[in-house]
């Protein structure tokens, strides 16, 4: 079991909760689980191809992760918008 932390509109769409305990051996599977448990977030983190959107960053225990990064039990997985603007 890992803890997925979301903020901003993702938190609002996920029932107002910022932390979600979920199972998933990799970042991608964990995020699929998150969207499945919180259907209003579907399409916000993962695109139609099933990939993490380009400007969404994921950190596993404070280390930058990618889709296939393993998620150890008890990990804290942060989903954070990237730095962008204009």
């Amino acid at each position: 079991m890992a803890v997925v932390r979301v903020r901003g509109p993702l938190r609002a769409l996920a029932g107002g909760r910022g932390e979600h305990e979920l199972e998933g051996p990799t970042v991608l599977e964990l995020l699929r689980s998150f969207e499945s448990r919180n259907p209003d977030t579907r399409g916000w983190i993962l695109d139609e191809r099933g990939h993490i959107r380009p400007h969404i960053n994921v950190f596993v225990d404070a280390e930058r992760g990618a889709e296939h990064t393993p998620v150890p039990a008890g990990a804290r997985v942060e989903v954070i918008p990237a730095i962008t603007g204009g």
Binding site: P9, D40, G43, W44, I45, D47, E48, R49, G50, R53, H55, I56, P81, A82, T84, G86
Partner: protein
């Protein structure tokens, strides 16, 4: 009272005012999606529903709607996505148009896709006929992406549709969108070698198309270098750009009461997308494009190098009281309540304007 829904780089602005009244700016009545790019917004007049299409740099394109206070909660429309597990993703929503049957709406988006809704825009389905068009793998995007930006319904006949895609050209349907064929005869893409032009396969960068409501076979097109008219419902096109200071531009409007009418906002050229001579002018034809008249009374006449984007030109009403509105990337908004005879500045210092719709 006229309401303008203005999509900007930093949110949706609703403005209200009287187009026919004296001078003065329209008032901002509401702002929503603060900080978010709102690519397109529309008050659908049959249902009264307000739509806003956003493209968050983080979360992708989304369509929202509200039937209540625009400063309050919005609902996210469902089905606004491409088939899961494919190789493409929805990149941007470009336009929404009312269909000819109650509750039906169409929506154009990048990558060259058409959606339709039969519940006033709450839920949407991808038009499979266009999505599965065999030539799709060969379609090329324009500079703004592979955008389906113009949707022309046929008054009273929901089976007849026309859409324009940059740069996949014109597409026509006679069966409600089940199947599509090209409508590009006569278009001259000056950005291609002449010997290579093929109306069936060439990349045709259509910028905007409008259909006459009173003579539906009459259509006007702003092309990427070229202005055209069709008198056979989009099957073929005749150039009508002579008399304009430039035949490059993006938006186009027509007077619904006059099939001979069209309004354009020319820019210098594709390599210099600002108003010619630093003067803000709208060009009007009332003879099907045989002649063009500049309309600039009340618009900035010097040192005004503005850019007006594809969806940033709107109309309301018809005839001598036709209201026209356009916004620029400079954040200025202009309007006319007398079919372009006179203009006034309605807002200044908005964020860059992406779209304008009037209701």
């Amino acid at each position: 009272m006229t309401e303008l829904a203005v999509g900007t780089k930093k949110g949706l602005f609703l403005l209200e005012g009287d187009a026919t009244g004296g001078g003065g700016e329209f008032g901002i009545s509401a702002r929503a999606f603060a900080g978010e790019p709102v690519d397109y917004a529309l008050r659908e007049t049959r249902s009264g529903r307000l739509f806003a299409a956003t493209t968050s740099p983080f979360y992708g394109p989304k369509l929202f709607y509200t039937d209540a206070d625009p400063a309050g909660e919005w609902q996210q429309a469902t089905g606004v996505e491409l088939p899961a597990g494919g190789e493409q993703t929805l990149a941007r929503i470009w336009v929404i148009a009312a269909g000819e049957t109650p509750g039906t709406l169409y929506m154009g988006a990048d990558p060259g896709v058409l959606f339709e809704s039969h519940d006033n825009g709450s839920s949407w389905q991808l038009n499979s006929g266009l999505w599965n068009e065999p030539s799709r793998p060969d379609w090329q995007p324009g500079g703004g992406g592979l955008c389906l930006h113009s949707i022309c319904t046929w008054p009273g006949d929901p089976q007849r549709l026309a859409v324009a895609i940059s740069a996949a050209g014109m597409w026509l349907s006679d069966d409600g969108g089940a199947s599509w064929r090209r409508g590009n005869r006569g278009l001259n893409p000056r950005y291609l070698p002449e010997a290579d032009i093929d109306p069936e396969t060439s990349a045709l960068c259509v910028h905007h198309v409008e259909r006459s409501r009173t003579r539906p076979e009459r259509m006007f097109m702003q092309f990427h270098g070229g202005v055209y008219r069709s008198d056979d419902a989009g099957e073929s096109w005749t150039p009508i750009g002579d008399g304009l200071p430039s035949d490059f531009g993006f938006p186009l409007k027509v007077d619904p009461a006059d099939p001979e009418s069209a309004y354009l906002i020319p820019l210098v050229a594709d390599m210099d997308r600002v108003m010619p001579d630093g003067r803000v002018r709208v060009y009007e034809t009332r003879d099907g494009g045989a002649s063009w008249t500049p309309r600039g009374d009340g618009l900035p006449a010097q040192h005004a190098y503005l850019t007006v984007l594809r969806q940033a030109f709107a109309s309301r009403g018809s005839g001598p009281g036709l209201e026209l509105y356009f916004g620029a990337t400079s954040g200025e908004l202009f309007g006319s309540g007398d079919a372009g005879a006179s203009w006034r500045t309605l807002a200044q210092r908005l964020p860059p304007v992406f779209s304008v719709a009037a209701a």
